[in-house]
Symmetry: C2
Subunit: 218 residues, 2 copies
DNA sequence: ACCTGAACACCGTTCAAGT
DNA sequence: ACCTGAACACCGTTCAAGT
């Protein structure tokens, strides 16, 4: 676990190690003590690089935002936003712990600010008014965050698992107690080819269509 | 803190006390030990009512879903979904800790199942196909969860605080580094009457309009 | 049946002391 | 400047023992 100590540790190395640990075992298992061990040092040494654990949490969330791409080609704003949405969804899925931290982080880091600035710029250049761009940004991120949040709390990952689970649940719960959930399980989730994730793009396009009317108006 | 012991403790009393503690000090301060004290007992006694802390977390999330209203009048499905969305947003705001727990909860409780069933039923009766209802439900909840998640991570609550903070940030950050954020701060957030929360309903209506086309199609 | 004391293996963080 | 040992005030959970 402990790696050979290089000449000197940096805050960046500590933060990267924290991301790695959280990816592996979840944010709950990422303690200051384990992080120190991972980085070849005692826990107390970390306080030379970080004021406290909160600062560390801010930093690892900022790493995630740094991984979200803002596409360069802006000739089609909807396509640019579509690509960004997919990149954001991938980053948030790669780092399952990120969304759970977000509601307690109120200090955005530089990567977060840069990302937000780039997205706003893209929307403004596409013709959105200032309030329109603010609305578009908030709506798009709401959709992305919320979708991923639901995705992460699904108790299955593959469609085989989905079918298996839907089946198990149907056995247990009386159909007349939750008739519409039962109908959904049998008529939709258990059908061949079902995938929750496949609904990301169609609904995103619904949102993008709605925003086009906001853009034209403004 | 410790309250006089009634004849017997129940799981429900323990869960309600946990919600109260989490509301007061955040989910991080709600430890099994403090919860036990709140309920007038030693920590170990709680394990007679709950297998472990995970079961407790499942239970308090289920309480939140139980507080979300599903309106009875379904003559207008959009209005029914609008009211549900507002009720959900209020519940998630009242219990700030709920969203942060959701991505680690994969075992929905009875109130959660009942709520989901009721919403699906409303959509089905309004004429949505089964896949359409699934899409509508996922999109609406994505929007609600994501909007509240962003709302909770805003570093301000009143519009006065928003103006104050935008002002502070503008002082610190060079305008040419984040030009569009600067523009947004000056031209939108700092304008009189600005309120992030006020954008909830307009964007929700954009989503509802998009879903009307899904309903008609299916 | 319900509760508890003692114990175990953990936490984040401070502080004074080392090199 | 960078690291550490010892200590403090916490965690969740198990287990054997009490009533």
């Amino acid at each position: 676990m402990a790696r050979p100590r290089q000449s000197a540790l940096t805050k960046e190395q500590v933060v990267r190690a924290a991301v790695r640990l959280a990816d592996q075992g979840g944010v709950a298992t990422m303690s200051m003590r384990k992080l120190a061990a991972e980085v070849g040092v005692e826990a107390m040494s970390l306080y030379h690089y970080l004021a406290n654990k909160d600062e560390l949490l801010d930093a690892i969330v900022d790493v995630v935002f740094g991984e979200i791409e803002v596409p360069a080609d802006e000739s089609d704003w909807q396509q640019a936003m579509r690509l960004r949405a997919q990149s954001a969804r991938e980053a948030l899925t790669r780092h399952r712990w990120a969304l759970g931290l977000m509601d307690s982080r109120t200090t955005p880091g530089p990567a977060t600010l840069h990302h937000h600035d780039a997205v706003l710029g893209c929307l403004r250049r596409a013709g959105f008014s200032l309030p329109g761009a603010a609305q578009a940004f908030a709506l798009l991120d709401s959709y992305i965050y919320g979708f991923v949040l639901q995705e992460l709390s699904l108790p299955f990952e593959t469609s085989d698992e989905a079918v298996q689970l839907a089946d198990d649940i149907l056995q247990q719960m009386p159909a007349d107690e939750y008739p519409h959930l039962a109908e959904l399980a049998v008529g939709h989730v258990m059908q061949p080819g079902y995938s929750y994730s496949d609904e990301f793009l169609p609904s995103l396009d619904l949102v993008l269509d709605g925003l086009e009317s906001v853009r034209i108006r403004g």
